[in-house]
């Protein structure tokens, strides 16, 4: 079945360091993998996605890596800032006429000053 899960529920990082958030998935048929950020009291916000035929994609201060061999993806945040404090979710999507987006359980990122 479809399953997207996160390795760690919490991550504490020193301000200015790089953060790496990991995610495992089980559905090899997924077309896209997506990262969302959720701040307290708000709905999730799209960060970046990666298509299943790619290994790496970069955005502004973020990089997503996809390893299909071990069904693992990661989100790297460069020079972590206090504003990066949030819960991060990975999600997967199978593109079809009835596309649905399935989320993992989330990792809380906290920033130490």
């Amino acid at each position: 079945g479809e399953s997207v899960g996160l390795h760690l529920p919490t991550l504490s990082v020193q301000e200015g360091d790089n953060s790496i958030i990991n995610c495992a998935y089980s559905n090899s048929a997924s077309d896209y993998f997506i990262w969302y950020k959720q701040e307290s009291g708000k709905g999730p916000q799209f960060i970046i996605d990666i298509r299943s035929n790619m290994d790496k994609r970069q955005g502004q201060r973020v990089t997503v890596l996809l390893n299909k061999t071990v069904k693992h993806l990661s989100l790297q945040i460069a020079a972590t800032q206090p504003g990066d404090s949030a819960v991060y979710f990975c999600a997967e999507k199978v593109y079809s006429s009835a596309s649905k987006i399935i989320f993992g359980s989330g990792t809380r990122l906290s920033i130490r000053p």
């Binding site: 997506i34 999507k93 399935i102």
Partner: protein
């Protein structure tokens, strides 16, 4: 919030009563989703819609029904609310094209069933 509004934002209801949550969008996006969020479970898909009158079940659809009679509105109904349905409910919309996976979320509805 990308033209998506959830109502009500907060609701307290009694066990056994019917409850309807509304999601309204002004983006004309094809896809609409209802999720619930509980501690330790992340976001779980309840139902989703891929067009007017086209809906399908998600991971946790038992006890919920949906309707989409027009593009802009997606209604989630709890036929007979139970305490296990106390949660924060999020609606999301998405263009759903092959080149665009981005989903936009509403602010959420906090539902308490007592």
């Amino acid at each position: 919030d990308a033209g998506i509004t959830q109502s009500p934002r907060h609701k307290v209801t009694e066990t056994g009563t019917p409850v309807t949550l509304r999601c309204h969008q002004t983006e004309n996006h094809r896809y609409m989703y209802w999720y619930r969020q509980d501690p330790g479970h992340g976001l779980r898909l309840i139902h989703y819609s891929y067009g007017v009158k086209d809906t399908d079940k998600g991971e946790v659809s038992d006890g919920y029904s949906v309707s989409r009679s027009k593009t802009e509105d997606f209604l989630l109904t709890l036929e007979s609310a139970t305490s296990s349905q106390t949660s924060v409910y999020f609606c999301a919309i998405s263009p759903g094209t092959a080149l665009n996976t981005e989903a936009f979320f509403g602010q959420g509805t906090r539902l308490t069933v007592v």
